[in-house]
């Protein structure tokens, strides 16, 4: 079967195996079929040698968290993200992954009113304990969300889909931090309701490209920087150039910044204040560390506002959230999270900072106290002394 993977991309792997320990599913199973090298071998067998796509092969591809922790670990520079995205797109076309029911959920992501209504219903259901625990839906989802306001036109703050419905308080915190640095902020809100990252991961290529095109069109009346406080969305938007293959998309991607990345070059604009008396363990979201590779910025921005930043000793291994992964593969996601929780417990921080909504929800469901770095900074800036 043609998985539509570029032959040179596939041949870039020399099977050295250095990726294995950086793969969360290999780490918790010891199973090479669930490792990057194993998956690439299976891609080759399927694409080059026409090996049949059996349940085991589908399972190998379907269980990839797409954390892309293997990419920085690869000395040969295999573009693994492109390989797995292409594979899953072909498998989704055949119906082997991403079922019709899942697609309905993905469809709702770009309908903000439907999403908010659904989200409120879910919040009610979660309060009434009607949602299965394994789905990891927090019991304190907001019923209502505060009003967004535009404070200027220096930057866009991209608000996205699920995060805007579930964690608008993080956007509010990010906006207040930016405003404290004298930056005028336009939250994108319903103007650009979804970046399409989750669609790309699910192999739903057409809807992903539609979301990307809609986002580009909505935010291209000027060339303001587009700041993103969700690592997954930021990574996806930085890859629009590759997804769409147009110069406009590449130009758009060049305007996208992780909010910490952008602020790290403007530290002097941020007011100084008394530090929060907290030892903070930074959990690097994979798409911030392995894809955008801007995780140092989080530390640079956060350090002046907290007592101490503590590093985890797990080399940025994924926490198992992976967008919709934790819902689709709850057992694997839980096993992966257990490793992360162990790493957190080894350094016993007061709180964990995570710059991605998926990670923070997944970790919170595992009993970890998590805040977004922007929430911590906002708290420090606006604390009552």
């Amino acid at each position: 079967m043609d998985l539509k993977i570029n032959a040179d991309d596939l041949n870039a792997c020399v099977q050295c195996g250095l990726c294995l320990p950086h793969c969360p599913t290999y780490r918790v199973t010891g199973d090479e079929a669930l490792s990057p090298r194993g998956r690439i071998h299976l891609m080759r067998e399927v694409q080059d040698n026409d090996a049949p796509v059996t349940t085991e092969v589908v399972d190998a591809f379907d269980t990839c968290v797409q954390c892309r922790g293997c990419e920085p670990a690869c000395p040969s520079g295999v573009p693994y993200g492109r390989l797995i995205e292409s594979t899953r797109a072909v498998l989704a076309d055949t119906g082997a992954v991403s079922t019709r029911r899942q697609r309905l959920a993905f469809w709702a992501l770009s309908r903000p009113r439907t999403l908010r209504l659904g989200s409120t219903l879910l919040a009610v259901a979660a309060r009434l304990r009607l949602v299965p625990e394994r789905l990891g839906v927090p019991t304190d989802l907001p019923f209502m969300r505060g009003q967004r306001h535009t404070s200027g036109d220096d930057v866009y703050l991209f608000t996205g889909c699920v995060m805007d419905a579930w964690q608008r308080d993080v956007h509010d915190a990010g906006q207040r931090v930016l405003e404290a640095a004298g930056v005028g902020v336009t939250p994108t809100g319903d103007l650009a309701p979804c970046c399409g990252a989750l669609h790309t991961h699910a192999g739903l290529g057409d809807p992903a490209r539609q979301r990307a095109e809609a986002t580009i069109t909505a935010l291209s009346n000027d060339d303001r920087p587009i700041l993103v406080d969700s690592a997954g969305c930021g990574a996806a938007m930085k890859e629009y150039g590759h997804l769409l293959g147009t110069p406009e998309a590449a130009a758009f991607s060049a305007r996208v910044y992780d909010i910490h990345e952008w602020l790290a070059t403007r530290l002097d604009d941020l007011p100084t204040t008394a530090k929060l008396d907290l030892c903070v363990a930074v959990q690097d979201p994979c798409h911030q560390r392995h894809v955008q590779r801007v995780h140092d910025a989080t530390r640079a921005v956060l350090a002046p506002y907290v007592h101490k930043i503590i590093e985890l000793d797990d080399d940025g291994l994924c926490c198992g959230a992976g967008g919709a992964f934790s819902v689709l593969h709850p057992q694997l996601a839980t096993d992966i999270r257990d490793r992360k929780v162990d790493a957190i417990e080894r350094v016993s921080p007061d709180i964990v900072a995570s710059a991605n909504p998926g990670c923070s929800l997944h970790l919170a469901a595992g009993g970890v106290e998590v805040m977004h770095p922007m929430q911590l900074i906002n708290q420090a800036l606006h604390q009552r002394t």
Binding site: N11, E32, G95
Partner: protein, 486 residues
């Protein structure tokens, strides 16, 4: 297209028995899994593997061995599959025993400096766990971030820092092993002197042909109080090799002495951006460990000897971050070659240090003549060469040229008084050259030792000893269809 065609064997009594002993999740007989187990990191293809088992305890390994014996099946142990000599590839559809789930550090005794680990523990994970306690596991193969202790024992692995500390054998005090008939034996012991023959020493480096280690007692090494890392650049490979020889001759015992030639340095720098000079013909990475005052003196002496051999630049790593980046470059060198070509064949000969420069020149001459691209990266301090022949197997005739050049390199090394393998093992790769290094009597004795552990030749058959000298291997390796997915 039949997307969900199952490829499980209809009713295989071997698989049924294994499944009963472990459980269905941990005995995998599907085509995808067996195809994956057919490869390691080498260029060698085995046949297709038999069922792949994931035991978690010594008892389960015993059960696998006994069931395999009842069914007349061979058994091949497999760690992370990073071997470079084909030691873990299956010949004749054996049962594959993956140590992927035997990955626990069982105990750490800092008073007696011993840690007990399961064979699937990753080398670097062990050191990371020990570092905060003031210790580490000294052998550090370049693949240490992924390779397992079980694989280290099987191959008697080395690493850059083995120059000062010795290879794996010097750091394994005791082994619990499951013999091919399912019995458990404990070799060696925690005491400094154990009575009787050193069977532990025989087992280390036996490449899975004597049994499977299920618990490994390792010596843990205190962390050095001070470290200095120098990067020396040279205009010729000969100057670098001569410097290495001079450093050892001067009585300095560095923790590591590693050389990379220009092609290798360029590929590595492209990946790590650690500040390796891409215009030098060769670089020497030298590290000294010890007490503060001592490392200062050693570092100064190394710089002096480098300059005497026309070093064009000498740089001292200014921070732990800089040092880590330099080492990351050195330790990912093999993987980085895919930037040049999609396949590589890595050799592992050892030559007397004083002959390094001569042999290197021969290697360049041999590879030029066979029109093969060579990149050199090696543990210079102990004369362990790693010429990487890089190529694209899709080009007609390339693999033949690579093999021909490789054979000449091996023979040149042997002629200089060297040996076939420093640390990667013999596997299937260098088997055919064993009789150029050992006499028939030598090989027969080695085979008799092996038969004492494994009379039926079911432990990783077809490896290490050449066919004519190994027992009933040929029987175990009867022809099997290869390349079949289902």
């Amino acid at each position: 297209m039949p997307l969900f065609r199952s490829t499980r064997e209809p009713i295989d009594p071997l698989v049924a028995d294994l499944t009963a002993a472990l459980d269905a999740d941990r005995v995998r007989a599907d085509g995808a899994q067996r195809s994956l187990a057919a490869h390691d990191a080498s260029v060698f293809d085995g046949g297709i593997a038999g069922p792949v088992c994931f035991p978690e305890t010594t008892e389960e390994v015993q059960a696998i061995m006994r069931i395999a014996e009842q069914h007349g099946s061979a058994v091949v142990p497999r760690g992370a599959g990073t071997g470079l000599a084909g030691g873990a590839i299956p010949l004749g559809r054996p049962v594959v025993v993956s140590t992927g789930r035997m990955n626990k550090v069982l105990s750490v005794d800092t008073d007696n400096r011993i840690a007990w680990v399961q064979p699937g523990v990753i080398n670097l994970d062990l050191s990371k766990k020990l570092r905060p306690k003031g210790f580490h596991f000294a052998p550090d193969p370049s693949s240490q971030q992924v390779c397992t202790l079980g694989g280290n024992v099987a191959n008697n692995s080395g690493g850059p820092h083995c120059l000062a500390y010795g290879v794996t054998d010097a750091h394994v005090v005791s082994l619990e092993v499951v013999l091919p008939d399912g019995q458990v034996a404990v070799l060696g012991g925690a005491e400094d002197e154990t009575p009787g023959l050193d069977l532990r020493g025989a087992f280390v480096g036996s490449e899975g042909t004597l049994g499977i280690a299920t618990k490994i007692g390792v010596r843990i090494t205190p962390n050095a109080p001070a470290v200095r890392t120098l990067l020396l650049s040279f205009a010729t490979v000969r100057d670098a090799a001569q410097t290495v020889s001079d450093i050892i001759a001067a009585g300095v015992v560095p923790a590591a002495l590693e050389v990379m030639d220009q092609r290798m340095t360029v590929a590595v720098e492209n990946y790590v951006a650690a500040g390796y000079p891409t215009d030098a013909a060769a670089v020497l990475l030298a590290e000294v460990e010890g007490l503060d005052g001592g490392v200062e003196i050693d570092a100064a002496r190394i710089e002096e000897l480098g300059r005497a051999n026309s070093a064009t630049d000498v740089r001292l790593a200014g921070s732990e971050k800089e040092r880590a980046a330099l080492w990351k470059g050195r330790k990912t060198a093999f993987g980085a070659v895919a930037q040049i070509a999609p396949d590589y064949y890595l050799h592992d000969t050892v030559v007397p240090r004083a002959r390094l420069a001569d042999i290197l020149e021969q290697i360049y001459e041999i590879t030029d003549r066979h029109e093969v691209t060579v990149m050199n990266v090696f543990h210079a301090g102990d004369g362990n060469l790693h010429p990487l022949l890089v190529f694209d197997a899709r080009e007609q005739g390339t693999l033949e040229r690579v093999h021909a050049a490789g054979a000449e390199i091996l023979r040149a090394s042997l002629a200089a008084g060297g040996v076939l393998s420093g640390e990667h093992g013999i596997g299937v790769e260098k088997q055919a050259y064993m009789d150029e290094l050992f006499s028939p009597a030598d090989l027969d004795h080695q085979n008799r030792l092996r038969q004492a552990f494994d009379p039926a030749c079911r432990a990783n058959p077809g490896k290490v000893l050449p066919m004519g000298h190994s027992c009933a291997d040929i029987q175990a390796l009867r022809e099997m269809p290869t390349g079949v997915w289902g």
